[in-house]
Homo-oligomer: 351 residues x 4
C-alpha cells in the first residue's frame, strides 16, 4: 500500500527502506532535503513540503510521522492542515500517551483518524524489524495493517509459544492493536519501564561481580570506609566480559539486553571512557507516574529510574543533608577516601 | 571421558543423558534404586553404594554430585570417604559459595580436588544444554573440560557477539572457569539475583498494564481508596497475554523469561488458581547479603527480593504498625474495601 | 482580627476554638447547621449561607476554607461569588498544590487574593497548635499573620536551635510563608512524603524485631519456605511495645511518630484486629510524581508508598505473574503454607 | 554501686561522669593514661593496667567496656583473664550482636556473666542520658540495674504515653532488658537501621524542596537532560533551612533527627563544604542482612543503605554498564552536562 513518512532520521528512513523492500509505495518528507534525496535515490517519492506530500498521496491518505516527541504536536498540526476527512495520521515516535488521548480527540472532531504506534527496535530494526504497539480506532488500524505487517519483525526464527496453535495472530508477527487511542504508546511506555528494570538488574549484578575481589583489595589498601568483615569470601577476580558472554547461552537470564551488554564488554572490557552519567528518556518517568496514579506498586521500576537520577548527581543535596546530620549527632566528619582509620576509632563513641 | 553422577533427580538424570548422547561413559548412583535402574536401561553403569560407585571408576576419578543443597555437605563427606588423592569431586547443585570455600579447603588438605559448578537451565536443559559457571583449581577444571563442553549448550544458533573473532572461547560455548573455589556458585548466585530483578521488572510492568483500565473500573465502582485523579487517561483494557507475546518479537526486552511469561499467559491468561505467594530460593538472599558486605548498591535486586517476601505476607506486622499509627494521629480507621466515602470526608481533617 | 471559617469538621472547628481562645473574632459556616450551632455556643458568630457569611465580615474579608480536598474547587467558587476585590480566600485543606497554582491565577484576575495553607497537627492540634506552611502573595500573607501566629504552636517548650539568636522568626513559631501560590501545599506535600518514609522506617524495623525469634519458631514448625540458615542468631522474643517506649528516651530516633507508635502498642501490644490494609492520601503520591518530574531520586519515599499499595493487595497480579513464570521454568508449584519439604527436595533441580 | 569503665573516649568518659554525678563509684582504665588522669581529677579511681583495675574492684566485679567494635574481642579476652567466676563483663560498644551470642557462650562456660548494651545518645548523652538496650542473663542484668538507671535518661520531661499507669517501668526510664545475650545489640542494630531510614526520608524530602525551583532554572539554562514537562509547577524557591525549623513545631514529623537537621542548616544553609560522601557504620548493613535472613521485607531501610553506598560512588561500574548498553542499542552517546540538545533530537529514533 501507499504510505507517507514524515521525519527521515535513522528510524524513519529505515522504516521506509523496510517498506520499499516489501513492495510498498513510499512518499517521504523531511525538513532536511538531503535526507529526502537519499531515499529518493533508493526508490521513494520525494516531497518538498507538507502540501506537496499531501498532493502525492491517494485518498484516503496514510501518513506516518517519525519525529522527536517534542516536535510531534507542531508537526501533527501542520500535517493536519493538509489532510481531509477519512485520512489517517500515525504518530510512530515516542510520544506521551496522554498527548495521544488529547490529540486523537481533536483530530476525531475533524474526521481525521489518529493512530499511535509505539515502535521498538533501535538501530537493529531495519533487518530485525520493529515491534509495533498500536492504539487507535479499529477502522484505521485495520486499514494500515499491510504496512504494520511489513514493518514488524514477523515470526522470524523465534520458536512458537507452547500452547499456541492455528493461524498466526498479529502479536506473533510483531504488531498488536492494543486498544483505543493512546494504548499503543501506553504499552510502549511500560515496555521501556520494564527495560529500565532489566538493564538495572544486569548492571547491579555485574557491579557485584566486579567487586567480588573486595577481599583482595582490602588486603592491599588497609583503610576502607567500613572494614570488610569476612574478606576470605570476596577473593574472586571475575571477568565480567566473559560472564556476560557465558550467560548468553543456556542461562535463565539470556536476553537481548544481555547480548548488548556482552557486545559492549567485548569491545571495552573495562568500560574505559564512560563516566556513568546515565540519561533517561520520558518513558521510565511516565511509567512510574502512571503506576502511582493507579496505585500499582512498582518498587523495582522506580528504583531503576532513581538510580539513573543519582548517577547524574541529582542525589547531591540529599547526601549533603545526610553528612550534615551525621556531623551534628556524632561529630562525624566526612572522610576523604583513604583516611578512615580515625573514623573507625571514633566509631565506638557515637549514634 | 568417564564421569560419575550422584543424585538422579530430574537435573542429574538429564545431565547423564546429555553426556551419554555425546559418548561419555557414566556411572550413576542415587538412594532411589529405581532412578538408577532407569538410567541403566538407557546405557549407564549403575552403582548400589558409594563404595560400589568408587570401585567402578578409573583413577583419578571424577564425581559429580547433583543433590539438594541441604544434603550436599553430608553427601560430600560420604563420597570423600571412598575417594583417593587426585580424585575430583564436583558440586553441581545450588550451594552457597561460602560452603564451597570452606569445603574446598578441607578437601584440598586431603588431596581431593573440589570443583563447584553453578548450573542454569531448568527443565529445558536436556535439549538446550546447561549454562555452567565453574570455580576451582585450574588442574581439576581442565581435566573435566570434556564433560563441561558436552553439558553446556555450545554455540547453538546464537549469533556471535560483534567484535569477537578467532577460535570460540569456552564462554561462547556455555561454560566458564570463573575463578578459584566458590567462584562458580558466586557467579550463579548473582545470575539468580539478576533473574529475580528481571522477573520483577516484567511482573510489575504487566501489573501496570493489567490496571490500565482503572479509569473504567472507577466509573463502575464509585468508592475507591484514593479516587483516581484523571480517569480519562486510564481507559485501556489491555490483554497482557497478547502483549507478552508481542514483545517476544523485535522489542528491546525480548528474553527467555519473557518467552516463559508469554507461555504462562497463553496457557492461563487470567492466571486463575495462582495465589501469588512467591517463593524464593537462597540465591536471591545471598546476592543481597554479598552486596551489602562489599558495599555495592543493589536497590533493584533487593526490591525484587522484598516483593517476594511481601507476597507471602511477611510484611504483615509492619502494615499493622502503619495502620495503628494512622489510627493514633488522625483517628483514621482501617477501611474495609468498599467503604471509603466517609474516609474521604474525614480526610480534610488530618495529618 | 476577624476570620471566617467555612467547614466545621474536627479540624476547622478546632482552629476556630484556638482562634477564639486568643481573642480573635470568628464567623463560621458549614452545610451542617448543628456544627455551626456548636461553635456559636462557644462564642462564634454563625452564618447560614455564603451570602450571610460575607455580609457579616468587614472588608477586606479573610475567609478560611477547611473542607475535603475533593470539594475545595466547588466551595472556592461559591465563596468567590460573594467576595469583593481585595478579599482573601484561604485554602487550609489538603489540596494538590497544582490546584492552588491554577486557582490563584483565576482569582488573581478577579482581584481576590488566594492563600494556600498546608496544615499539620491532626487531632492534637487544638492544644498543640498546627504547623502552618503558607503560599501566596506577600500582601495577603502579611495581612493574615495575626491569625497564623495564633493557630501555630508558637515556640512552646522546644529548645531553640543552636546558632539561632535574636528575635524569633515566624518558622520558630510554627508558621512560614514558603513562597508564591502553591508553595504552602507543596511543602505540606513533601512533609507528608517524609512522614510516609519515617512511618515505614519504624514499621519495618519493628517488623524485624517482631521476627527476631524466627529461629525459635523454626524449631517448632519444622517446615518453612526457605529454611533459616543460622537459627541460633534469631532466638530473641522481643516485646516491641516495650522497645517503642524505650526509644522515646534518649535514642536518636525519638520522634512524635514514635510516640504515637508507643501509644498504639501500649493500647494493643499485638495489634489485634488490624488487618494491615494501609490507606494513603494524595500527598505521598504527589511527592513521588513531583520528584520524578524534577529528576530527584526518592527511593525511600517511593518504597514507603509502594509498601502501602502492596498492603492492600495491589501487587496481586504481579505476584501471580511471578508464580506463573516459576511454574514454567522450573516446574515450581506454588506451595500452600506448611508444605515445603518437597519443594526443598526439588530445589536442587532448578533455575 | 561500683563500676569499672574500660575505654575512656568521649562516650566512655561521659558515662563515667554521669555515674559519678549520681554517686556511683567508678574505677577507670584506658591505654591512654591522660584520659585516665582526666577522670581521676574528677573523682574516679584510676587504674594503670587490667590487673590493677581488677584488684581495685570488689567481688563480684562489674566491668563496662566502651571500646571500638573492632577491638572489643581482644579487650574482652584481656579483661576476662583477670576476672573471677561471678563477675560481670559488659560490652557497651557497637558490637555485632552475633559476636555477643558467641562471646556470651564462651564466657558462660567460664562462669563469667556477659551483658551486651546497645547505647544510643551521641555527644548529647552526658546531659540527656543514654538510651540503653540490654541483653544478657537475668541475674547479671538485675545486679547492674542501679547503674543502668543512672546512665539512662530517666523519665525527663517527656509526656507519659497514654494508657500507661502505675509505677514507671524500666523502658519508661530509658533502659530495657530486651532478652538473652545479643538482644541488646540486636535492638540497637535495628534502631540504627530505622535511623538510616528516617535520615534518608528527611534528606530526600529536603532535596525535593531544594529542587522545587527546577522550572525557574529550566528557563535560565535551556538545555537540560530531560526537559521538564510542566515548568509552571516548579517555580518555588524554597528555603530548606527555614522549612526544617518550621517542621520542628507541631508537625507530624517532628523528631530529634529533624532538630539536628535544622541545626545543621541554621549553621550552614547551603551545606557548603560537604561533599555528600555519606559513611555507614555496620548496623545499617547488619539490619538488612538480618531482615534477609528471617525473610522480613525492608525495602525502605535497604534503600536508605544503598543510597549511602551510591553517595560514595559504589554504583559506578553499574552506571558505566548502563551507559554502555545505551550506546549499543540506540547509539546513545553519554552526554556531558550542558550538551543535551542533540540528544533530544536523537531521542525519537531509539529504544
Amino acid at each position: 500500500m501507499q504510505l507517507a513518512m514524515i521525519g527521515l532520521g535513522r528510524m524513519g528512513a529505515n522504516i521506509v527502506r523496510r517498506l520499499m523492500r516489501d513492495g510498498h509505495d513510499c512518499v517521504v518528507y523531511d525538513v532536511n532535503a538531503d535526507a529526502v534525496q537519499a531515499l529518493v535515490a533508493e526508490g521513494a517519492t520525494g516531497a518538498d513540503s507538507m502540501a506537496d506530500l499531501a498532493s502525492k498521496l491517494e485518498a484516503p491518505r496514510a501518513i506516518w510521522m517519525m519525529v522527536p516527541a517534542s516536535l510531534t504536536g507542531k508537526v501533527a498540526d501542520e500535517v493536519a492542515a493538509v489532510l481531509d476527512e477519512g485520512d489517517i495520521l500515525i504518530d510512530g515516535g515516542n510520544s506521551n500517551y496522554r498527548d495521544d488521548v488529547r490529540r486523537a480527540k481533536t483530530f476525531r472532531e475533524r474526521g481525521i483518524h489518529y493512530v499511535d504506534v509505539g515502535t521498538s527496535g533501535g538501530v537493529f530494526g531495519l533487518d530485525r524489524g520493529y515491534c509495533l504497539m498500536v492504539g487507535g480506532p479499529d477502522e484505521a488500524v485495520q486499514r494500515i495493517e499491510p504496512v504494520l505487517r511489513t514493518i514488524a519483525p514477523g515470526v522470524g526464527e523465534i520458536e512458537r509459544t507452547p500452547g499456541r496453535t492455528g493461524d498466526l495472530t498479529p502479536e506473533e508477527q510483531g504488531y498488536l492493536h492494543c486498544g483505543p487511542s493512546g494504548a499503543g504508546h501506553f504499552v510502549k511506555m511500560v515496555h521501556n519501564g520494564i527495560e529500565y528494570g532489566i538493564m538495572a538488574s544486569i548492571a547491579e549484578g555485574l557491579n557485584l561481580l566486579h567487586n567480588a575481589d573486595a577481599g583482595v583489595r582490602e588486603a592491599e589498601h588497609s583503610a576502607e570506609i567500613a572494614p570488610l568483615e569476612e574478606p576470605e569470601f570476596y577473593q574472586f577476580p571475575i571477568d565480567t566480559s566473559k560472564v556476560a558472554e557465558l550467560w548468553r547461552r543456556g542461562s535463565v537470564i539470556s536476553s537481548w539486553l544481555l547480548d548488548l551488554t556482552a557486545a559492549a564488554l567485548a569491545e571495552n572490557p573495562q568500560l574505559d571512557g564512560l563516566a556513568g552519567r546515565v540519561s533517561d528518556s520520558g518513558e521510565g518517568r511516565w511509567t512510574v507516574k502512571a503506576a502511582v496514579d493507579v496505585g500499582v506498586p512498582v518498587p523495582v521500576l522506580a528504583a531503576s529510574l532513581f538510580e539513573r537520577f543519582a548517577s547524574r548527581g541529582e542525589d547531591h543535596f540529599a547526601n549533603q543533608v545526610l553528612s550534615a546530620m551525621r556531623l551534628q549527632f556524632g561529630g562525624h566528619q566526612e572522610l576523604p577516601a583513604g583516611d578512615v582509620l580515625e573514623a573507625g576509632a571514633r566509631k565506638a563513641e557515637s549514634d
